[in-house]
């Protein structure tokens, strides 16, 4: 394939990444962050899978069989088991505004500068070969596709140009904001995209090999059995196979947490702690998917290239090339390219922050001449330093690749980096769980571990590349056989990596532990230890309280901030702080909380160490004891609790007053209803009274009335008197029911009996009027509990109403009763005059005549229905009517059985 075409494809791919990153940043500016998303977060974690995964896993699977998986089981275990540790680290970094692993360790141990430097150097030692490894992968894959050898002349070497592009990209999206806490959203978006691309392309080649060249997994595995060299690989090695698994998995766990690029994406770029919940299963799933085809491809490669000298690391490219499937080869190349570039970009950004904040800035701040330059325009200086670091790191990686890496399998460089990064584990894990860990202990552990790592892994590699003579390998250091790099203190039977991990961590942990116990912490160190270990206990308080004491001029602090944030932003930040914390910033001397806050702001930009140096250069500080720190934090926390309580109290008060208002309104309403009721009742009483009075007067004044007429008048008077007393009884009854004074009995009631009795009581009247009564009652009506007489009252009321409105000698009344869904239903149906729609609700209402209403509801339904409704409500039941004028009415009620 033409190398120019492939070069153009690579450039197009990088342009695409630019586009993705740019779009994401534009969206963020508009306030619609695409990166604040659990899926994107999980995908960005997959920057863990580098070109080493993409190409190297197959190589490793071919060479060492299934133990390549250990490297992927580690992160999965971290997500499942060490999830709380990750959460704790994230929380600490957020509250302390830490932006790198170097910052993390130096901040924990008293914001110590030398620790920051040491961690940065270790990261450089692990990172540069690792970057070189990625460049090697790019170069090799390019070489295989174009069938050319790597070019020793830099200017004609295609990898060099890719390196230049990568530097431009990383600078553009890595140093846009100097404040490292302001995250690199464009970069994260690009990395997440790359994770999708590498997975997709590895899947593509996997499917091609497994289902196109072979007949699925089974076919491949069955053929593998025919070849001895492969068969051998699938049996666990007896000599230390298990311990190798253990150590490699353990290393991968540490690497997943502490590799600079992993720390960057998992901790620094984390937008929301909750995203971890999704990543907990999504990321392991990703790891599973990207490993599914590793073994099939490695077996297939072994079968296809059996006996030929083909680089096993490049099987994924060699196979499609072998079958002249160029398109597939290009796609695979893009996948590997994306894995490599993703790693380079994130790793470089992470290390450059450390190099500038922990290495270069403190140096420049320490030199009076350069300090004055920094003071003039510090944010620009920080930006330049960071850009310079980025370029430097990638270029160093390139030279390392160019002149040193030629000899190694991709995997061995990766594992070597893992071992040195694992040296952070004691200081970090000890630092967040053990308050006693001291700066000197951390220092000793890190140095000791790193020396052992250097001796057991780097010296041998220098030997094998011919830099050192091989005497040391055979005879040991100073001719002491106990000091052989691969057999330290005579230990044999372990692979080099496990061997190195064991000894380096052994020394690291021992030194860390014992020296910590033997040394004392400074007060600042002690304070930080508490803040780290008890972060969950104090995390709110840490933000709101101050563990600093001293004197500083407000103007000094402000000008310090201004030089990094600019005048406008400083004003804004200071104002916000003053308002939020109710602190006066117009005074001559700064409030301690303000100084503390400013230092944290600066730490986000230049790192903990530099921020510490800057603030202490303008402030006269006093020591503050741990007891005081804890006191301050406790107070702050109590204050927050009190605040919360107050808020709750005021909320309760508000609710109470709302309830009061509601009650008041209810009272007013009740009052009005009572008024209405009274006037209605008076009216109802006046009507019969009028008749009685008028007729009595007529009888009195007219002695000469005919007998018949006289009888008629007298009879009317009697009826109207009855009506009057009935009305009074009903009013009293209703009043009793409403006020709750009535005792509703709890008797066992058989509904069919009630209906029977009610019908009996009006049977005679119905006969007289010529109205027929039918009953359709379910045989198996369950009994229920309630007040027998009251239910009877309802039944009689409904029946007498029905009778009243039925047509003489023609009407019929039908009663039905049944049980449905634990509710008893009773219907009383007549074919009388019916009730028009507008009154159907009104008739159940005792206050049917509102204030200005002069329209009467239909006659006859006095308070009977209102009473019935109330009785049913006391039994948790309901009553309603369906009716049509001229056709009749159907009154229904229902009572729940229990």
């Amino acid at each position: 394939m033409n190398s120019i075409i492939l070069g153009i494809i690579s450039i197009y791919y990088l342009a695409f990444l630019f586009f993705v990153a740019y779009q994401a940043e534009q969206k963020t500016k508009k306030g619609k962050s695409v990166v604040s998303n659990a899926n994107i977060y999980s995908l960005s974690l997959a920057v863990y899978c580098t070109a080493w995964t993409f190409y190297g896993s197959v190589g490793r699977a071919t060479a060492d069989s299934i133990d390549f998986l250990a490297v992927y089981i580690g992160p999965t275990l971290v997500m499942f088991l060490a999830f709380p540790i990750l959460l704790k680290i994230i929380r600490i970094c957020k509250t302390q505004r830490l932006t790198s692993i170097a910052d993390f360790i130096s901040s924990r141990y008293g914001k110590n500068r030398s620790l920051g430097v040491l961690v940065t150097i270790i990261c450089l030692l692990s990172g540069i070969p690792y970057i070189a490894l990625q460049l090697k992968a790019i170069s090799n894959s390019f070489g295989i596709l174009t069938n050319s050898l790597s070019n020793p002349n830099i200017l004609t070497d295609h990898t060099f140009y890719i390196v230049i592009l990568l530097i431009v990209f990383t600078i553009l999206f890595g140093t846009r904001n100097v404040e490292a806490t302001e995250r690199h959203e464009g970069m994260v978006a690009a990395i997440a995209t790359e994770s999708i691309i590498k997975l997709a392309s590895f899947f593509l080649i996997g499917i091609f090999v497994t289902y196109w060249l072979f007949d699925g997994f089974q076919d491949i595995f069955s053929k593998a059995h025919l070849i001895d060299s492969i068969k051998k690989n699938f049996t666990m090695k007896q000599d230390g196979g298990m311990s190798m698994w253990f150590w490699h998995t353990f290393l991968a766990m540490m690497a997943f947490m502490f590799l600079p690029r992993q720390f960057q994406v998992a901790v620094v770029e984390n937008v929301d702690e909750k995203h971890l919940n999704r990543a907990m299963w999504l990321f392991p799933l990703y790891m599973l998917l990207i490993n599914i085809f590793v073994i099939p491809i490695s077996i297939a490669g072994g079968i296809i290239f059996s006996g030929k000298p083909v680089n096993t690391d490049m099987f994924v490219l060699s196979i499609p090339m072998h079958y002249s499937s160029e398109l597939l080869a290009i796609m695979t190349y893009i996948g590997g390219f994306s894995a490599a570039t993703g790693m380079i970009i994130v790793e470089t950004i992470a290390i450059s922050v450390m190099v500038s904040n922990n290495l270069l800035m403190p140096i420049f701040l320490g030199i009076p001449k350069s300090k004055s330059i920094i003071n003039r325009n510090p944010s620009a200086v920080v930006q330049y330093i960071r850009r310079f670091s980025i370029a430097l790191i990638i270029i160093l990686g390139y030279f390392y690749f160019k002149y040193i890496t030629e000899k190694y399998s991709l995997v061995s460089i990766g594992m070597t980096a893992f071992v040195v990064v694992a040296q952070f584990a004691p200081s970090v894990l000890g630092g967040i769980f053990w308050k006693r860990g001291t700066q000197k202990g951390a220092m000793a552990g890190l140095i000791g571990g790193t020396i052992i790592w250097f001796f057991t892994l780097i010296i041998p590699s220098l030997v094998s590349s011919g830099v050192l003579s091989d005497n040391i390998m055979n005879d040991g250091l100073f001719g002491n056989t106990l000091l052989k790099p691969y057999e330290l203190f005579g230990m044999t039977g372990m692979d080099n990596i496990s061997h190195s991990t064991f000894w380096s961590l052994f020394f690291n942990i021992t030194l860390y532990f014992f020296i910590s116990l033997c040394t004392k912490q400074t007060s600042l160190e002690h304070n930080q230890a508490v803040l780290f270990v008890d972060v969950f206990q104090y995390s709110k308080a840490i933000e709101n309280s101050t563990v600093w004491r001293g004197k500083a001029l407000v103007s000094d602090i402000k000008s310090l901030l201004e030089s990094f944030l600019g005048q406008n932003r400083t004003e804004r930040v200071v104002r916000m702080f003053a308002v939020r914390n109710n602190v006066n910033v117009q005074t001559r001397y700064a409030d301690a909380s303000f100084v503390n806050y400013s230092e944290k702001l600066l730490a986000g930009i230049v790192g903990t160490t530099s921020a510490r140096m800057m603030v202490s250069s303008v402030a006269k500080e006093e020591d503050i004891s741990l007891d005081e720190v804890v006191e301050i934090l406790k107070k702050s926390q109590e204050l927050m609790a009190v605040n919360k309580e107050l808020q709750q109290k005021s909320q309760e008060l508000k609710q109470l007053s709302e309830q009061l208002q509601a009650a008041n309104e209810q009272l007013l309403l009740t009052d009005k209803l009572k008024d209405d009721f009274l006037s209605t009742v008076t009216h109802e009483i006046r009507t019969p009274l009028t008749s009685i009075k008028a007729l009595s007067e007529i009888l009195y004044d007219n002695e000469d009335l005919e007998h018949g007429e006289r009888q008629h008048f007298l009879n009317t008077i009697i009826k109207e008197s009855d009506r009057l007393s009935r009305l009074i009884n009903q009013v009293l009854d209703l009043e009793k029911l409403e006020s709750g004074k009535v005792r509703v009995l709890n008797e066992t009631i058989f509904l069919d009996e009630i209906i029977e009795d009610a019908v009996e009581s009006i049977e005679q009247l119905a006969k007289d009027k010529g109205v027929k009564i039918y009953k359709i009652i379910d045989k198996k009506l369950p009994n229920f509990h309630g007040d027998k007489d009251r239910i009877m009252q309802v039944m009689v009321n409904l029946l007498s109403n029905a009778l009243k409105f039925s047509e003489t000698n023609k009407g019929t009344i039908t009663i039905t009763a049944y049980n449905e869904d634990s509710n008893l239903y009773v219907n009383v149906i007549d074919d009388g005059s019916g009730i028009s729609k507008e009154y159907q609700e009104l008739i159940f209402d005792k206050f049917y005549q509102a204030h200005d209403q002069t329209i009467k509801k239909p006659k006859g339904s006095g308070l009977g229905l209102a009473i019935s409704k109330r009785i049913l409500e006391l039994h948790n039941g309901k009553i309603w009517v369906e009716s049509e004028v001229g056709k009749g009415s159907k009154f229904s009620f229902t009572i729940p059985i229990e």
Partner: protein, 128 residues
């Protein structure tokens, strides 16, 4: 007595027992008595018979007494007709409202029959 013989009186009430007594009283005084049980019936009779005096209940189904009164007083043919409200609504405001609508007399229920008869007779004298 003779003079009143050709004076038409309409009684409007939804209570049959009240109608019973009023009808008796008016007939005894020699008026020509018409009866309506609600507002709608009243409209028909008013349009057909042009009664001189209307005894009018207020609270009735369908159309209330106020409506009937308004109808009488707004119609040029009937506006001379005397309207007497007979109502259980006996509060000051109710009485005022009755007069404001155009009633000539407002008698709260329950009423004294003698008093009522006296007042209607006086009114009948005016009408002639």
């Amino acid at each position: 007595m003779n003079i009143q013989k050709n004076i038409k009186v309409l009684i409007v009430d939804d209570e049959p027992n009240i109608l019973l007594s009023l009808e008796f009283l008016m007939k005894k005084e020699g008026f020509i008595v018409f009866i309506a049980r609600d507002g709608e019936e009243a409209f028909d009779i008013i349009k057909r018979e042009h009664p001189k005096i209307v005894l009018l209940d207020i609270m009735m189904p369908k159309v209330d007494g106020y409506e009937v009164c308004k109808f009488i007083k707004q119609n040029t043919e009937t506006k001379e007709t005397k309207v007497v409200f007979l109502s259980a609504k006996s509060k000051e405001v109710d009485i005022e409202k009755g007069y404001s609508i155009g009633a000539d007399l407002y008698i709260p229920k329950p009423f004294s029959t003698r008093d009522l008869v006296k007042k209607i007779n006086l009114m009948a004298a005016e009408v002639i």
